[in-house]
């Protein structure tokens, strides 16, 4: 059974443009081209994150109300 998303095909330049637009970014074309070149390595990285963690696995941060009160 797959434990990550690394089998998914890489996003196309058009898909990267669409995702960037949906994120509210309006990049000049030169910067968009740089980003389209940069994103695939990050996309591959995020897809390697395991997705089969135990249901009760806690994220590595916790809300500590006493600390907020003290500060």
């Amino acid at each position: 059974m797959r434990t990550d998303l690394s089998h998914l095909p890489p996003s196309s330049p058009e898909e990267i443009r669409a995702m960037t637009c949906r994120a509210g970014l309006d990049l000049p074309e030169e910067l968009m081209q740089q980003f389209i070149a940069a994103w695939p390595a990050f996309e591959a990285m995020v897809r390697r994150i395991p997705r089969n963690l135990d249901r009760a696995a806690e994220p590595a941060h916790s809300y500590r109300p006493l600390r907020i009160v003290r500060s």
Binding site: I16, M19, T20, A23, G24, L25, D26, L27, P28, L31, Q34, F35, A37, A38, W39, A41, F42, E43, A44, M45, V46, R48, I49, P50, R51, L53, A57, E58, P59, A60, H61, R64, R67, I68, R70, S71
Partner: protein, 462 residues
């Protein structure tokens, strides 16, 4: 007496014996910076008048027999993401070119109270991530061992300035290795303390859940003295740990007999610089010779740790810089922009999964540290990179050997353990231990440095 490469411990002794004064040392180091930093660009801003005023004040107090602590009258410098009241703090970025903070970072307050002498603000990668960059208002720092090479990053100026003999100590920050990396490739010591050991208040954020401040210096002993002044609880830093600050220098017993050390050899056994594995083997033999018990230990791959850390980081970085990326993206350097923009496409579930994975990876380290007093591995996988503006960005493609202990939030020090034959550049050993076990890390590093002299070798800047 030439104070260029005197350690903080040696300066303290000479101040005590009145053989050298803070003003003499400060003047000599300011002259050295003026003579040589034009090639190295380690400083963004030198503050000579303020430094001399602080040195004179320290000298008056020391002469009157009032010693504030181990950094009294000791020159140091700050990575330029640490805020300083009345002194510009740029983040090495066009975005903060004219930013002058109204208040000092908490650790600067501690250093001022301790009588340390601020010499200026140091080059960094843009906002402690984007570098080395050639399209920023200031050039990237260069490596004092060979200015055709870089000093690592992101505490690039700190690594270069300490190695060059401009200051005996500096403050850097470390999210994924930004203290240990420059220390490793500049042939000095750099400590990333436990997460929460040193306050981050007043320091530009990179990744809230992994930002650390810590010292770079030329010996483990100096790291202990520096840490003594900046460590401690800060109620206004939500990540700060309310734990007692031990006497770090007292931990430097010189003995590591019987300590159990886990060697994470598989992280550097393949793909590293060819001179690194033999240098590490030699370092392990030194530690065994001192009575330590060194055994192999297997942890998750560097790829896993790097993926986990970087996913968390870019999500947090994007949140920090979102407003500017949407309104003035062209004002960021190309490298930083292309490292942070991906955070816009990280989904909430990706970020949370990475945080959950961090718990799993941190527990793996905690389990290993039930068997061992400390973990050993390399401080860097290679030597310094060439200063080539056309190098490809390797943030994601090449796994990092410093990121595992960032994920774990553990104290970790990088110290020199040799030089490469071809380039003549420093190689480094990394030592990590359980949370708040800085005394153990420093004890091992100090014992190693008592038995070796790598840390006493310095670059010739002529």
């Amino acid at each position: 007496m030439d104070p260029t490469f005197l350690t903080i411990a040696e300066l303290n002794r000479l101040y005590g014996q009145r053989e050298l004064s803070p003003v003499e040392v400060t003047r000599a180091l300011l002259d050295r910076i003026a003579a040589h930093d034009g090639k190295l660009h380690s400083f963004i801003r030198v503050t000579p008048e303020a430094a001399l005023a602080e040195a004179q004040a320290a000298e008056r107090e020391l002469m009157a027999g009032r010693r504030r602590g181990p950094l009294h009258g000791i020159p140091y410098a700050l990575k330029d993401i640490v805020e300083t009241a009345g002194i510009p703090t740029t983040g090495h970025s066009k975005l903060c070119h004219n930013y002058v903070p109204a208040a000092d970072a908490h650790l600067v307050t501690l250093l001022k109270s301790g009588g340390a002498v601020l010499m200026g603000k140091l080059a960094t990668w843009e906002f402690a991530l984007g570098g080395p960059s050639w399209d920023l208002p200031w050039p990237p720092a260069r490596n004092p061992w060979n200015p055709d090479y870089l000093p690592g990053g992101s505490s690039s100026g700190a690594g270069a300035a300490v190695a060059a003999g401009f200051v005996p100590g500096a403050v850097g920050t470390d999210t994924g290795g930004s203290i240990r990396g420059p220390a490793a490739v500049c042939g000095i010591a750099g400590l990333k303390p436990t997460y929460g050991r040193v306050s981050r208040r007043g320091v530009f954020p990179n990744t809230f859940t992994m930002d650390h401040c810590g010292p770079l210096a030329r010996s483990a002993e100096d790291i202990a003295l520096f840490l003594q002044v900046i460590a401690g609880f800060d109620a206004e830093d939500p990540g700060s740990e309310d734990a007692p600050v031990p006497d770090y220098a007292a931990a430097l017993t010189g003995s590591i007999k019987g300590l159990r050390l886990g060697l994470v050899e598989h992280w550097y056994a393949h793909g590293a610089h060819p001179d690194l594995p033999p240098a590490m083997s030699a370092a392990v033999e030194v530690l065994r010779g001192l009575g330590a018990i060194v055994e192999p230990v297997q942890l998750s791959s560097l790829r896993d740790y790097t993926d986990c850390k970087t996913t968390i980081s870019i999500a947090e970085l994007y949140a920090i810089h979102e407003k500017d990326l949407k309104t003035r993206p062209q004002d960021f350097g190309r490298i930083l922009r292309n490292r942070v923009l991906p955070g816009a496409l990280i989904r909430a579930e990706d970020y949370v999964q990475a945080l959950r994975w961090r718990t799993v990876l941190a527990r793996e380290q905690a389990m290993a540290l039930k068997q061992f007093d400390a973990l050993l591995t390399a401080g860097a996988l290679g030597v310094a990179d060439p200063a080539d503006p056309n190098q490809p960005d390797r943030l994601v493609s090449v796994p990092s050997i410093t990121m595992p202990f960032s994920v774990g939030g553990l104290p970790a020090i990088a110290i020199p353990c040799g030089f490469s034959r071809a380039e003549g550049l420093p190689l480094s050993l990394q030592i990590a231990a359980a949370p708040m076990a800085e005394p153990t890390v420093l004890r091992i590093a100090h014992a190693y440095q008592q038995a070796t002299d790598w840390h006493r070798r310095h670059p010739d800047l002529r």
